[in-house]
């Protein structure tokens, strides 16, 4: 009986011992604990320092470069577009100036043409007028010559008639004849010219 109890007690105590671990054990590392801790940390540290972290850093750097490159490219494209826009504006302004200049030129040219034409017309008109004058003069001369010839004949006829007919009005007739003769005498050149022509 007592041995059975003792055996049970021993068994219980042994079981208790087996389960038991001191609280202080939590704070005091066993050698194997430290060894394996170093092993697992070394595995992780080796993998991270030698491969994982450099690889990720490379990828991140590459991405940063790409983004910065993209930004730079966009900036240069923007600048290019800006330059093109400015160039277009400049060209447009130039074209406008050109158009204005051409318009101005055309205007002055037109004015010059009009003026020239006007002048030419004036000259032409003068010339025509002159010609007309000359023609008129010539015709007048011709008429004068013709007239003079006729007047001579008529005068002679008149004179003969006057002399032959009326004696009553002797005095008046003689005055007419006198004046006629005077006029003839006063204008010999004309008479001559008339005959010549």
């Amino acid at each position: 009986m007592s041995t059975a109890v003792a055996a049970a007690l021993v068994a219980a105590v042994e079981e208790d011992h087996a389960e038991a671990a001191e609280g202080i054990d939590l704070l005091i590392p066993a050698i194997y604990d430290i060894v394996w801790s170093i092993v697992v940390l070394a595995i992780i540290a080796f993998a991270f320092y030698r491969f994982v972290l450099p690889k990720f850093r490379a990828v991140l750097d590459e991405r940063t470069d790409l983004i910065q490159g993209g930004i730079k490219k966009a900036e240069s494209a923007q600048a290019e577009a800006q330059a093109a826009l400015e160039r277009n504006h400049a060209e447009l302004a130039e074209a406008r100036a050109e158009a204005a200049r051409i318009r101005e030129e055309a205007r002055t040219e037109g004015a010059a043409i009009v003026a020239e034409h006007r002048q030419r017309a004036t000259v032409e008109a003068e010339r025509i007028l002159d010609t007309a004058h000359k023609q008129i003069e010539a015709e007048r001369q011709q008429a004068s010559v013709q007239l003079r010839a006729e007047v001579g004949t008529l005068a002679t006829e008149l004179a003969s008639r006057i002399v032959g007919e009326s004696l009553q009005d002797e005095a008046r007739q003689s005055r007419v004849v006198d004046r006629f003769l005077d006029e003839l005498a006063a204008e010999p050149s004309r008479a001559n010219a008339g005959t010549v022509q």
Partner: protein, 283 residues
């Protein structure tokens, strides 16, 4: 069974938790209350040697290999236009680089320490998350060795950074004799600062991480083993409590995911802060 350990004959408080809780009766299988023994499972390989492998070491190895394989695969397929998994990884990488490193250290100095902070963050996150992965079910960081090694790594890095930036004398002077303090205060301040820089910073880094993971594991085991007990072994109306513990277990699982990320974040933030305090001459 760990007969090789000499302290097994001593009793510890949590192992007696089962006897305190009312439903943890001694009859039959009963209720398996979580104990600290969970963190010291039986060895599987090389028992007793410095290469002893137990369940926790296997979990750590699986987590490390899974993390490395996943990251290497994603990194290999990394393209300018990221895919889905690359997006997630880049999100985390950006988070550590921008929100931790650059925010605390400034853009210039951050560049040098981003690999350290990133590696720490991913490693801690992976080891923390094994606590909620089915079948693994224990955080790799819940045993002090790993948090301690992480803290030691940070310790070496921030001491090295400080000495490189200011020289040994300059580093000690700016850290142990903070400027702008009356001379007699150094009697009080210098020991405190010494303790802070050389002991408390790494110790708190390691303990905070380990304690959070231990607590999370205990809570999860408590809720789920209680659920099993209530559903399978409790009688009658007591089974209703099973639903309650199951729901709280699920909620706690989600909470543990959050804690896993939070602790990883806190660890790298503090690392960045310590690095910053070391390289800055005046603080």
């Amino acid at each position: 069974m760990r007969p090789s350990r000499s302290h097994d004959h001593r009793e510890h408080p949590l192992s007696s938790l089962a006897t305190i809780l009312p439903f943890a009766t001694s009859e039959g299988e009963g209720f398996h209350a979580p104990t600290i023994a969970d963190f010291f499972p039986a060895p599987v390989l090389f028992e007793g040697s410095f290469l002893e492998v137990n369940r926790l070491q296997i979990v750590r190895l699986i987590a490390a290999l899974a993390l490395v394989i996943f990251m290497v695969l994603v990194a290999r397929r990394a393209r300018l236009v990221p895919g889905r998994s690359q997006n997630v990884v880049e999100l985390l990488l950006d988070f550590v680089r921008v929100n931790v490193a650059q925010e605390i250290l400034g853009k210039e100095r951050a560049r040098k320490y981003v690999p350290l902070l990133t590696t720490l963050f991913f490693a801690i996150l992976a080891f923390n998350l094994t606590g909620v992965v089915p079948l693994l079910n224990i955080a790799g960081t819940s045993l002090i060795g790993l948090p301690l090694m992480l803290a030691l790594w940070v310790y070496v890095m921030y001491l090295g950074a400080g000495i490189r930036a200011q020289g040994l004398g300059g580093f000690l002077r700016s850290n142990l004799f903070p400027p702008g303090v009356p001379v007699f205060m150094y009697v009080l301040l210098t020991p405190i600062e010494f303790l802070t820089v050389f002991v408390l910073r790494p110790a708190t880094l390691a303990l905070r991480l380990m304690a959070n993971m231990v607590a999370g594991h205990l809570m999860l085991v408590l809720t789920f083993s209680a659920t099993q007990f209530f559903l399978l072994e409790a009688s009658g109306a007591m089974k209703v409590f099973g639903a309650l513990t199951l729901v709280s277990g699920i909620a706690l699982t989600l909470f543990e995911v959050f804690v896993a990320a939070l602790q990883a974040y806190i660890f790298v933030v503090l690392t960045a802060v310590y690095l910053n305090l070391s390289v800055e001459a005046e603080h």
